[in-house]
């Protein structure tokens, strides 16, 4: 329990009145609605100290939380920009530009190498904050680059997934990232290296139906939404109410699709232990 938000916060509120509290210092948990002090939220890896809700995290945070000293980011291969000259209500080229300005990311994936509690590893993290983490050629090439780097360094590959699915604006090119990322997983496995898939909220569509589900080990964060089809599409198709907890990490665990559901504060230690057990036969 957090004394600050439980006790001090209401007090401040009575003393100062609601509007005088600087908003950026406080966050409301989307699950339990309680207020959380910014510093506590960061220190707690964006897990609600009241209810344990795992809030969405950025790709940069994933790398920082996983690799010792954040690791070393690698530059990912360039891909053709807007190969279809796609335009819906907005031009894809403009959407890309906006997403880049907003997130300061080149596309929806970051890759870094370094160590996890001393064990060398390559870590790729999808950025849901960049166009919903959608997978186009840039993400596909990035996953391939991460796999090739892992092979080169004889290091395990860890991928944090977070994606609404394929990047529709790249049409069938985005569809082809499914076989391409499957090949990436094969490269790592054929080199005798572990590929660990960490599924975070949300992971759906073409990402789930390709590399995300091919981990030697598949871990998810508590409460993460993971599935192939969207809930709305399923509801419209089967005209049934979806069961409680449908497509959540715990539901997938119960249905045999995941190895484990691991809370965020334990993730790094869990990954380090898994790498050690899979790659160090004798740690004596």
């Amino acid at each position: 329990m957090n004394w600050l938000s439980e006790y001090v916060r209401p007090k401040i509120r009575t003393l100062l009145g609601r509007r005088e509290i600087p908003d950026h210092l406080w966050h409301q948990c989307p699950s339990c609605q309680q207020m959380i002090f910014e510093r506590d939220l960061e220190r707690g890896l964006k897990v609600c100290p009241h209810c344990g809700h795992h809030m969405r995290a950025s790709a940069a945070e994933r790398l920082a939380w996983t690799l010792d000293d954040g690791g070393t980011r690698i530059e990912l291969p360039k891909v053709p920009a807007d190969p279809l000259r796609f335009r819906d209500t907005k031009r894809y080229a403009d959407r890309l530009k906006e997403a880049r300005e907003k997130t300061h990311l080149p596309d929806a994936l970051l890759v870094a190498h370094g160590t996890i509690a001393g064990h060398k590893a390559v870590v790729a993290a999808m950025a849901f904050e960049f166009m919903g983490g959608s997978m186009g050629a840039a993400v596909g090439e990035g996953i391939l680059a991460a796999a090739q780097l892992a092979v080169l360094q004889a290091a395990p590959l860890i991928v944090y997934t977070a994606s609404g699915g394929a990047r529709m604006q790249e049409g069938a090119i985005s569809l082809m990232q499914m076989p391409r990322t499957v090949i990436a997983t094969r490269l790592v496995k054929e080199a005798g290296l572990p590929f660990i898939s960490v599924l975070t909220d949300p992971t759906t569509g073409g990402v789930t139906a390709s590399f995300a589900m091919l981990g030697d080990i598949q871990i998810a964060e508590p409460g993460a939404l993971i599935g192939f089809a969207g809930a709305r599409v399923i509801e419209q198709t089967v005209r049934e109410k979806l069961p409680e907890g449908f497509q959540r990490a715990e539901y997938l665990l119960a249905h045999g699709i995941l190895d484990a559901v691991v809370p965020r504060p334990e993730m790094k230690a869990t990954l380090a232990r898994l790498i050690s057990l899979l790659t160090l036969k004798d740690a004596a």
Binding site: V79, G171, I173, M176, M178, I183, S210, F228, A229, G256
Partner: protein, 318 residues
Amino acid sequence: MRHFLDFEKSIAELESKIDELRRMSEADGINIAEEVARLTEKADRQLRTTYARLSPWQKAQVARHPERPRATDYLAALITEFTPLAGDRACADDAAVLGGLGRFRGRAVLAIGTERGNDTESRVRHNFGMSRPEGYRKARRLIELAGRFGLPVLTFVDTSGAFPGIEAEARGQAEAIARAIEACLEAPVPIIATIIGEGGSGGAIALAAGDVVLMLEHAIYSVISPEGCASILWRDAGEAQAAAEALKLTADDLKRLELIDQVIAEPLGGAHRDRESVLLAVAEAIAEALPPLLALEPVALKARRREKFLAMGRLAPV
């Protein structure tokens, strides 16, 4: 009674007029040959101009035409001694994915097709061609079987996509698709995929990560249906026509993007107007594609297949 699409209205009128004249001449013995010939020529001309510039959305309609030859037609016409094999060995047999052993022009092969049915009863039985995890797991099992016995794999893809259902998700739809893609990529035998109607998203690529991907002229192949894309990006399913344009989902588009290997021409007015000729054209294309693949060692074959997919959508070297 032929099923006409919206944009074929004037052709439908002409053809019904021709039928009418023929019936009259049979009944009354009047010689109307000249008039019939004139109208037939006119109908043909209209068909030709209409089909020469079908919009992507119109192609989507042709691809989904209820009389279009389906996977079962290709299996029946191209595969002799067809011996269906069922089941995923875990849960069920999925009738949306048909598969079995047989011979293609004398050579033993393994054939797989997504079947959507052609009337209410068969559509329900085949779940409208939307596979559940069991279908992809069956496909994977059969592809592995083919690999063990050195049999080429021929797939015929016609699906709006994987089935979006509660049990499908509970039994690991995503994993089943991923493993089917992997099975295609890992097969030590040639895989020739033909997109015969609708190549819908993950449900299609699960059976189409092949050495050679053929596609019928009016088939479509896309990451999402035009309707689905429109409702997400335009927030209006009515914009499906615009979405079909934007998605670049026609055979010509995919060939230009180098995502498929060959476009197979369809008879005038679409595959449903001359089933025999389209079945033969597909058989010829497969017969042509197969020998060079059979000449490759399994290791070289697999490496070539990987390289092909790895090259897709990459920045061209400067």
